[in-house]
């Protein structure tokens, strides 16, 4: 369909006034603070920037952030898709409650999340005691705690990304495949997943990006030992507080760059999804 917006410019929300307002809000609120960080990180040149990233404690923090976020995002992708599927396709007792509960992590201050997890997985906590005594596992103050905290915080992201797409998806295809004797796994792989794949990836990447920057909960549960359990966001905070602004800005730029690329990827996926949807 050819859009005919040029035909009736009088009504369109095409006023440059609106665009100016909307874009300046974006620039003032988002672009300006971020450019301050870029300016600050590169003020002593690329070499110092690299040196600040490649210091052992900085590099280790970056690696830790990347792998914990990746593990969380993949797991979250799996469980989030499953949750969305159950919420959309099945009717059962407590469903609407479950549906509301999904957003709960958005509502809980991340600091409180951290405190709850310490209370649960700490040496005196219900699960912590069990895991420590029974299995000799220590979760708190080690990378597993980071993954759990990130999972808690990002749980809604994948569900809320996949859910609307599943709602649009006609269940008759799944039923047809089932009548033809396809196994549930096969149905999922060849009927459902192709349709929701972009949405799942969107959720996975978004939760990954969010996880890179997460601070409030992680700082409480991680233990923050340099080279072991200190994430990049916590590292940035330490550098800010100890007045190594260059180090703080440099690491922030790396995190920003990774997130930005991911977000562009998400956007590309969504455009593709729309394209697929339209045909």
């Amino acid at each position: 369909m050819k859009r005919s917006n040029k035909a009736s410019p009088a009504w369109q929300f095409s006023g440059s006034g609106l665009r100016l307002i909307a874009l300046s809000y974006l620039v003032l609120l988002v672009v300006l603070p971020l450019s301050a960080i870029f300016y600050d990180g590169f003020r002593e040149g690329l070499f110092t920037f690299l040196e600040n990233i490649l210091r052992p404690s900085a590099w280790a923090a970056l690696k830790l952030s990347l792998w914990t976020a990746a593990v969380m995002a993949l797991f979250n992708g799996m469980m989030g898709t499953l949750t969305a599927y159950v919420l959309v396709r099945y009717d059962f007792w407590g469903k609407s409650f479950l549906n509301t509960i999904v957003d709960l992590p958005f509502a809980i201050p991340s600091l409180v999340t951290g405190v709850m997890l310490v209370a649960l997985y700490g040496p005196e906590g219900f699960l912590g005691e069990f895991l420590q005594e029974g299995l000799g596992l220590r979760i708190l103050f080690a990378p597993p705690a980071i993954v759990i905290a990130l999972l808690f915080i990002n749980f809604p992201v994948v569900v809320r990304s996949v859910q609307p797409v599943l709602e649009e998806l006609d269940p008759s295809q799944e039923e047809a495949a089932a009548t033809l004797g396809a196994s549930p796994w096969r149905i999922f792989r060849s009927v459902i997943f192709p349709a929701i794949r972009p949405a799942t990836w969107t959720g996975v990447l978004l939760s990954f990006a969010r996880a890179l920057g997460e601070f409030g909960a992680v700082v409480v549960v991680a233990g923050n030992l340099p080279l072991f359990s200190q994430t990049a966001a916590v590292y940035v905070w330490g550098e800010i507080e100890s007045e190594n602004r260059l180090g703080a800005s440099a690491m922030s730029i790396v995190l920003l760059a990774v997130s930005f690329l991911l977000v562009l990827l998400v956007d590309w996926l969504q455009t593709r999804r729309r394209a697929v949807h339209a045909t």
């Binding site: 859009r3 005919s4 009504w11 369109q12 929300f13 006023g15 609106l18 665009r19 909307a22 974006l26 609120l29 988002v30 603070p33 971020l34 301050a36 960080i37 300016y39 469980m79 499953l82 949750t83 159950v86 099945y90 059962f92 609407s96 479950l98 509301t100 509960i101 957003d103 709960l104 958005f106 201050p109 991340s110 600091l111 409180v112 405190v115 709850m116 209370a119 649960l120 219900f126 808690f152 749980f155 039923e175 089932a178 196994s183 990006a209 969010r210 890179l212 920057g213 997460e214 601070f215 409030g216 966001a233 940035v236 800010i240 703080a248 995190l255 920003l256 997130s259 930005f260 562009l264």
Partner: protein
């Protein structure tokens, strides 16, 4: 009709999801309630009903309302511009939209201080205008707006795209002004996602901690929000107050989200 094979799958999947949610969300929440319960409600109310704590909740409410008002207006405007207009660099802006999600809240506060703090890049400008943007409430508002920025836009973009512009064009042909079109055609169509985005903004603003702490320095009774109070209460071993305030915060956002769902259902 599904075959038996898939039918047996249903309870299994539901159980998995229930167990997963119970472990991930339920257990921590239950622990928190347990801890609060052990402190006793009288002690909780004692530590919560003080002028400082009321002020903290008042300030949090102010930040939440600012997020709702500003993001409601500018977020909707931005979504409209991004969907209905074509201009160069649009895809770059799409990339910028989600960035606030991905940035550590601490860095947000730090960026504001780099800009407006003592000796900051734009400190002179702010001073000339007579506004204090760091270590003050306005700075905390800005930090909150930053972290809540993507919610409304993200909710509106897909809806506006799917909505298309036929209705809007029809209204225009009938001679309606852009303003009339927006309020009588566009807005009614996007009100649910808009409300959803706004309540997410509200909830997020309610829980924000790192950015407002860095920008506001958390002075009790002045720049202390409800979450900063939780932080302070934990540090001062006022566990009753800390757990009580946390539960109150959770309750507030839960009520918001549940009533959203309920209203939505009633309308449909």
């Amino acid at each position: 009709m599904l075959l038996k094979k898939t039918k047996g799958f249903k309870p299994l999947l539901i159980t998995i999801v229930f167990v997963y949610l119970l472990w991930l969300l339920g257990l921590p929440l239950w622990t928190l309630i347990q801890e609060a319960y052990q402190e006793g409600w009288t002690k909780i109310s004692q530590e919560l009903f003080s002028l400082e704590v009321l002020r903290a909740f008042g300030l949090t409410l102010l930040l939440c309302l600012s997020a709702v008002v500003f993001n409601g207006i500018f977020g909707t405007a931005l979504a409209l511009v991004l969907v209905r207009q074509n201009f160069r660099g649009k895809s770059l802006i799409f990339g910028l939209l989600d960035l606030p999600f991905a940035i550590s809240a601490v860095v947000v506060g730090y960026a504001l201080i780099l800009l407006f703090g003592h000796g900051g890049i734009l400190a002179g400008m702010a001073e000339a205008l007579g506004i204090r943007l760091v270590f003050s409430v306005p700075g905390m508002v800005i930090a909150t707006l930053f972290v809540t920025f993507p919610f409304v836009v993200r909710e509106l973009l897909p809806v506006l795209q799917e909505l298309g512009e036929e209705q809007e064009q029809a209204a225009a042909t009938l001679g309606a002004s852009p303003r009339q079109i927006f309020f009588s055609v566009t807005l009614p169509n996007i009100k649910w996602p808009l409300l959803y985005g706004l309540s997410l903004s509200f909830a997020r603003a309610l829980g924000e901690f790192g950015a407002v702490l860095v920008v506001g320095a958390g002075i009790a009774g002045f720049t202390e929000t409800a979450t900063i109070f939780v932080f302070r209460a934990l540090e001062e071993r006022m566990y009753a107050g800390a757990y009580g305030a946390s539960l109150l915060l959770i309750l507030l956002s839960l009520i918001l989200l549940i009533s959203m769902e309920a209203v939505k259902k009633a309308k449909n």
